[in-house]
Symmetry: C2
Subunit: 347 residues, 2 copies
Amino acid sequence: MTNSFNDNPHRRLNILTGEWILVSPHRTKRPWQGKTEKSATTDLPVYDPSCYLCPTNERMGGEFNPSYEKPYSFVNDFSALLPNVKEESYKNGLLYAESESGICKVVCFSPNHSLTLPLMSVSEIADVISLWQKEYKELGAVDGINHVQIFENKGGIMGCSNPHPHGQIWAQNKIPQEVHKKIGNLQTYWEKHGRSILEDYLEQELQLDERIIVENEHFVALIPYWAVWPYETMILPKRKLAHIGLLSESEKISYAEILKQLTIKYDNIFNTSFPYSAGIHQAPTDGKDHPEWHFHMSFYPPLLRSATVKKFMVGYEMFANPQRDITAEQAAETMKSLSNEHFSQLG
Amino acid sequence: MTNSFNDNPHRRLNILTGEWILVSPHRTKRPWQGKTEKSATTDLPVYDPSCYLCPTNERMGGEFNPSYEKPYSFVNDFSALLPNVKEESYKNGLLYAESESGICKVVCFSPNHSLTLPLMSVSEIADVISLWQKEYKELGAVDGINHVQIFENKGGIMGCSNPHPHGQIWAQNKIPQEVHKKIGNLQTYWEKHGRSILEDYLEQELQLDERIIVENEHFVALIPYWAVWPYETMILPKRKLAHIGLLSESEKISYAEILKQLTIKYDNIFNTSFPYSAGIHQAPTDGKDHPEWHFHMSFYPPLLRSATVKKFMVGYEMFANPQRDITAEQAAETMKSLSNEHFSQLG
Ligand SMILES: O=P(O)(O)O[C@H]1O[C@H](CO)[C@@H](O)[C@H](O)[C@H]1O
Ligand SMILES: O=P(O)(O)O[C@H]1O[C@H](CO)[C@@H](O)[C@H](O)[C@H]1O
C-alpha cells in the first residue's frame, strides 16, 4: 500500500518543512566511476598528545583542557556566533540584513580519543545527554538566546576536523531558517488537531511498521517517509516532549540506548565508522509555551553505496529538488536486518 | 554603507527564496586541520578511448556517440526521471506522495575531452547556449513538461563522474521545490511594482558597484548580497528575459563572453580547474505568460581556502541556517582583482 511507488519516480512531502523530495527507485543500477572517499580510520589511540580536545591538552585558543572524565563542554575557540553583538538592522532597497548574536560551544563526548557513540556504554551516552540537557537549559536561559542547536558532525567527509568524539552547540537570538519552516507546520497542525503532528505520525509509522528500525520502551528510530539522504533517520520520543530537558530518568536511558543501537546499525551498513551530521530540533527557548513541539533528532549521513561512495547533493539537488535513489522502505529494510552488535566486536 | 556588518556576525535575506543566511566575517582566521580534497587534474587528452562521452565511443547504455563536432545532447542512460509515468497520487494519513515524470538529458559541451568552459572559445560557448536554447524549447514543448532545469556539475568533488566537458538537463512535470520558492517572490514583487525584482536588484547593484565582478554589453556577473557559497555568483541579463529562448543574437554572444570571463576568474582564484554546480533558473514551460521572470544562472562552488579545502555545508548549516565566513563583498573584491587571462595561459 505505501509501496505503490516502489518502482517509479515520485515525489514525497516532508510534513515538517512542507518541502518535496524526488525519489527515483529505478536508478540504483547506475554504475559509479566518480569520486570515492577514504574509508574512515578506526584505529586511534585512547589519548593523542596532539589532539586539542583530549584532556589536559592545549586548545587552539591557548587554553588548556581540564583532566575531564565525564563529557565536557567549552566555548568554541573559533565561534561563528558572538555574544552581545550590537543589535542593528539594515535595509537598503533590496538588501536586507540584521545583526545576530549567539554562543558556540564544543561538547566532548568522552575523554577517550578513540571512541565514537556506538562504542560508548549506555551510561556514558546518558552522560552526554545530561550535558546536552544542562546546556540547552543554561544557554536557553541566557538573555536574548531564543534557539539552541545541538549537533554533531562525524567524519572528515562531514567537515569534522578532529576524530575526538565531540559535537557542537550553536545558540542564537533568531530562529534559524530550517527550524522556522518546521515551527509553521507544527503550529498549524496543533491548532487544527490539538495533537502534535509527530505524535500522530509516530502512531501511524508504528502501525504500518515499514520504516521502523529500532524501538524501545520510550523511543523509536525510523526512516522518515520523506527522507532525503540515503540512510537518513529520525529518533523520536514516544511521549510528546517539547525538549530534552523534560526527559524522565528512564526516558534518558531509553534515549541513550536507542542512540547506541542506531549508531551501531550505521557502522554495520558498510563495516566502517559511518559519517553523518546529526542534530536535535526542539522548542525555541523564547520563554513561551510550545505545546506543538515534539523534539526529534535527525541523522543526515552521506554514504550511499559503500564506505567510499557517497550521495552528492549537487546540480539538480541544489537548483531543483533533493533527490534520492533507494526508497525509505528499502533503506529501513537494510538497517533493520543488520546486527545489533558492532562489527568490530563480532568474532 | 552596505558594509556596516563587515566585521560582525549577521544574517542576510535572499530576496528570491525568502530565506536567511548567517554570515560570520570574523571567522576566516580559523585554522584548518580537516579533510582536504585532491586538486583537479588539468592534463587530459583531447580524445579518451575509455570516455563514454567522447565522439564515436560506446556509452554505458550500449549506444554509440556520433562523430559530433558541435555540442551534442542525448537522453541520459541512467535517467532519474522517466517519461510517461502513470499519474497517481497517494495520501495515507500523514504520508503524501505523487508520481512524477520527466526527461533527463546529457549535454556534451565539446567533442574535445580536455576542455572546460573557460578554455573554450566564445563562439564554441555560444554553440553550447544554442543547444541549451533548443533543448529548453523542445523539452518545454513536450506535453506535461512544465519545468526544464539546465545545470552542470563540474569536478569530482561536485559528484561529476567524468571530466569530459558536459552538463545535464532534467525536465519534469512538477515545478521543483527551489524554483517554487522563487516563483512566489518574483510574482509578489511583479504584482506590486510592475517590474521584475531582478531588474530592480540589478539596477541597485550596478549603482553600488560593491559585488559586481564582470559587466559587458548585455550581461552582468555578480556575487549576490545573500550568497551562501564562498564564491557563489549569479549571471544576469540586463534586459528582463523570462528564458534563454528570448536572447537576441548579440545577447547570446554577450552571454558566452561573460560565461568565459567568469569561469576564467574561477580557475584563477586558486590556479585550479574550479569545481562548481551551475544552473539556470528560468520561466516554467507551462504555457502561461511569465512577465515576472528574469532568467539567471547561478554558480555554487564549494572551494573556500585553497584548491583542496572546501566549505562544508553540514551540521549547523543542515539543521539551522546556511552559514558563510567571508562576506560577499570580500569575495567580489578577490574575484574582481584577478586576471582575465586563464592562469594556464599566462607566460
Ligand atoms: O548523473 P550523474 O552526473 O552521474 O550524477 C550527479 O548529478 C546528479 C544530478 O545533480 C546527482 O543526482 C548525482 O548525485 C550526481 O552524482
Ligand atoms: O566548527 P568546525 O567543526 O571546525 O566546522 C564544521 O562545522 C561547522 C558547523 O556545522 C561548519 O560551519 C564548518 O563548515 C564545518 O567544517
